[in-house]
Symmetry: C2
Subunit: 390 residues, 2 copies
C-alpha cells in the first residue's frame, strides 16, 4: 500500500425532502449572502429553486442568482460568478444541480478571493486554500463532485478542458434527496451510472499491486452500481434504488476507493478531449466508448488484474487462462455500458478518424507525456486507443 | 434506506514514519500547547514518545504530558487531564495509543471548556460542540476511535461504563503508521481484529431491510479483516497486511458501514458490563464471547439475513434452508474468533453464572429497556444471552 493523505470533510444530509433544511443548515454555519448557482430551466420549472429560495429566506440568508450552467461548464460563466461574489460580498456558494453546476461553483469559489484570472489555477495548477465554502443540493448522481476535491472546466476560447484538484474546494455541505432524481431522463441516469463505474475503474487499474482493503471497497461499489442500474432505469421512482445509486455515486469519487493506490485516469484524459471537441458529448457516454478501448489496449500489462475484476464484479468463472478471463471481463464491461443504452463507438458520438489528430495536441497539453499508470501511454498509444474506439 | 446525516472530517496521514510529521501538521493548524496523552510504558520504552516530543519541539509546540491511561479508561484520569488543560491553556489534545487513550483524550477535550464535571456528558448525554481539537498517533488498530464520534469511559466509583457520541469529538488529525503495530502482542492484535469485525456486525444486523450500497461496503470490510487476520498473526512485521488492517479498523467504525441503517449495538452493551465488572477483560475478547451468543438468541427474527452474511463473508453454499444457513454462519463466526485465539465462553474470562445478576442493573441503566434493533431485548433476554455465553 502506498503512503497517502486523505480528508473528506463534507457533511452529508441525506434523505426525503432534505433540501428544505438548506436555509437552517447554512445559517448554523454563519452564511449571510449566498450565490445561488444552477443550470438550465428544469430546476426552476420543477419548483426546486423556489423551494430553496424560500428555505434561504426563512433563515434570513440573502441570495444572488446565477443560472445557465451548461454541461461541460465553461470558464466565461465562472468569471461572471466571481464578479458577482466580489460585487455582493458573497460568503457561500450554493450549487443546485449535478457535476457541471458543482464544478462551476467550485471554480467560482476558488476565484472569489483571487485577484488574477481564475484560469490560472487550471493552467499552472497553482494552489489556494482561500476558497469560499460550498454547499450543494445534488440533482444528478454521477460526477461525485458533491464531495470530491476535483473539478473540470472548459475554456472554449483556448479549446481546452482542464481539471484542478484541491481538498480546499471539497463542499462543506451536501444535501442529497433521492426523490429529486426521479425525473432524470433515462439517458442522463445511464450516463451517470457509467460515470460512477468509471471513477472506480480509474482507481482499480494502476501499477500498484493489490491493496485489499481499498480494492474490496472499490469492488463492492462496482457491484452496487451494476446491481442497482437496471432498477433505476426500469422503475424511475424506486426510492431505495435511487438512494443506493445516489450515495454510491458520491463514494465512487470521494477518494476512499483509491487510497493507497496510484490510480490511472488516462481514460478520463482521453474522454475530456472528446467533449472539448464537442461540448454536446455527455461525459458518461464518452467514457462508455473509451474505457473498453483503453482496456483492450492495455490489459496485457497485467491480465490477472482484469481477470480478478471480471470474477468479482461480473461473477465470471476462471478458465485457467488469465488472458481469456481478462478479455471476457472487457466484453462484460462493454456489454454493461451497452445495456444502459450507452454508445459503444466514437462514430455514434459523431467523432471520426480525422478528428483524432485534432485532439492529440490538447491531450498532450492537458495530460503530459507519458500519462496514465497501469500502462504509461505516449501520444502514439493515445492515437491507437482512439482508433480502437472508432 | 433510512434518512441520515454523516460527517467524517478527520485528515488522515497514513504510511511509513508519518509520526515525524506531527509537529509540522499541528503547527499548520495553529497548535501552540498540546496535552500529550498516552498509556503505559511501551510507548515511552519504544522511543515513540521521544520522537513525537522531538517533532513537537522542532515545530515550537509546547507540551504537557499525561501518561498512564489504562485499558477501559477511567474518569479520574480524564478529570486530571481536564485540570491540566485549564491550568496550562492547552489548545490541542494529542493522543498516542489505541482506543483507550483516544477515548480518554476525547473525554478530556470535551471537558476542557466545561465548568461542571465531565461525567455529566456520559450520564445525561448533554451535548457540547465546544471541544478541544484532537490529534491521534495510532498504535493499536482496533477501536476505530481515531475517526469515530464515539467514546466509552469507565467510572469505577459508580461501577459504570458509559458512552457519549458526538461528531464534535471526531479527531481532526490522525497519523497512522502501520510499522508502529509490528510489536503488538498477538493477543492484542487478535482482540483488535475481533473488535473491528464486531463493529461491522453491529451495523449489519438491525431491523432495516437491505441497504445494498452500505451492506456491500460493510461486507467488503468483513472480508478484508477476515482475509488479512492470518497474515498479521503469522507475520507480525508484514507491512502491507498491517496497513490493510489498520485502515480497515478505521473504516469499520467511522460510520460509512452503517449509513442508512438503524444499527444494533446490543452486544456492545452486553460486553461493556463484562469489563465494568472486571477492567482486565479486553473489549475484543468480551465481544468474541458475546457476539455468537447474541446471534444464536436472535437469528430466528431474520434467518435470511444471517444466511446472506454467511454466503458473502464465509463463502458458505446455500443449503436451501435459511435456518440451517444461519446456524452455519454463526458457527463460522465463532470459529473465526477462536482461530484468532479469542475465548469462546464467559468462563474463560472468569465470569460465572452468579455474576449475571450483578450486571443486569447497570446494563438497564446504560442501555434502557428494551434495547437493540435486530430484536428488541428485555433484561430477561439479556440474562438468557449471558447464560448462552457461559
Amino acid at each position: 500500500m502506498e503512503d497517502f493523505e486523505f480528508v473528506s470533510p463534507t457533511q452529508f444530509v441525506f434523505g426525503h425532502g432534505v433540501e428544505k433544511q438548506v436555509g437552517a443548515k447554512l445559517a448554523e454555519r454563519g452564511a449571510k449572502r449566498v450565490l445561488l448557482h444552477f443550470g438550465g430551466q428544469s430546476a426552476v420549472a420543477s419548483g426546486l429553486i423556489d423551494r430553496i429560495k424560500a428555505a434561504l429566506d426563512d433563515a434570513g440568508i440573502e441570495q444572488v442568482e446565477l443560472g445557465g450552467v451548461r454541461p461541460n461548464p465553461e470558464i466565461t460563466l465562472v468569471r461572471e460568478g466571481i464578479a458577482l461574489c466580489k460585487e455582493h460580498d458573497i460568503d457561500w456558494v450554493l450549487a443546485v444541480g449535478g457535476g457541471s453546476v458543482i464544478d462551476s461553483a467550485k471554480a467560482i469559489a476558488v476565484g472569489a478571493h483571487y485577484d488574477g484570472d481564475v484560469w490560472d489555477f487550471f493552467e499552472t495548477k497553482r494552489q489556494t486554500d482561500d476558497v469560499l465554502p460550498i454547499a450543494v443540493v445534488l440533482t444528478i448522481p454521477a460526477a461525485g463532485s458533491e464531495a470530491s476535491k476535483n473539478m473540470v472546466v472548459s475554456n472554449d476560447e483556448l479549446g481546452l478542458k482542464s481539471g484542478y484538484p484541491n481538498n480546499a474546494q471539497r463542499p462543506k455541505l451536501a444535501f442529497m434527496n433521492p426523490e429529486l432524481t426521479f425525473t432524470l431522463p433515462p439517458y442522463q441516469t445511464a450516463a451517470g451510472l457509467t460515470d460512477m463505474f468509471c471513477h472506480l475503474l480509474e482507481r482499480f487499474f494502476d501499477d500498484v499491486g493489490a491493496v485489499p482493503v481499498t480494492d474490496n471497497l472499490n469492488l463492492s461499489l462496482m457491484r452496487t452500481v451494476r446491481a442497482e442500474a437496471p432498477c433505476v432505469l426500469a422503475e424511475t421512482d424506486n426510492y431505495d434504488a435511487r438512494a443506493n445509486v445516489m450515495w454510491a455515486g458520491m463514494l465512487c469519487h470521494q477518494g476512499l476507493a483509491g487510497v493507497g493506490r496510484h490510480e490511472d485516469w488516462a481514460t478520463h484524459g482521453l474522454e475530456h478531449e472528446l467533449s472539448a471537441l464537442d461540448p454536446d458529448i455527455t461525459h458518461g457516454a464518452g467514457l462508455a466508448v473509451m474505457f473498453p478501448a483503453w482496456m483492450e489496449y492495455v490489459y496485457s500489462e497485467n491480465p490477472a488484474r482484469f481477470a480478478f475484476y471480471g470474477r468479482e464484479v461480473f461473477g465470471l468463472a476462471s478458465t485457467g487462462s488469465a488472458e481469456d478471463d481478462a478479455l471476457s471481463a472487457i466484453d462484460e464491461t462493454r456489454s454493461f455500458f451497452a445495456s444502459l443504452g450507452m454508445p459503444t463507438t466514437l462514430c455514434e458520438l459523431g467523432i471520426e478518424e480525422d478528428d483524432i489528430e485534432r485532439m492529440i495536441p490538447t491531450l498532450k497539453e492537458n495530460k503530459g507525456e507519458p500519462f496514465g499508470s497501469f500502462k504509461k501511454l505516449t501520444m502514439d498509444d493515445a492515437r491507437e486507443i482512439y482508433r480502437l474506439a472508432l
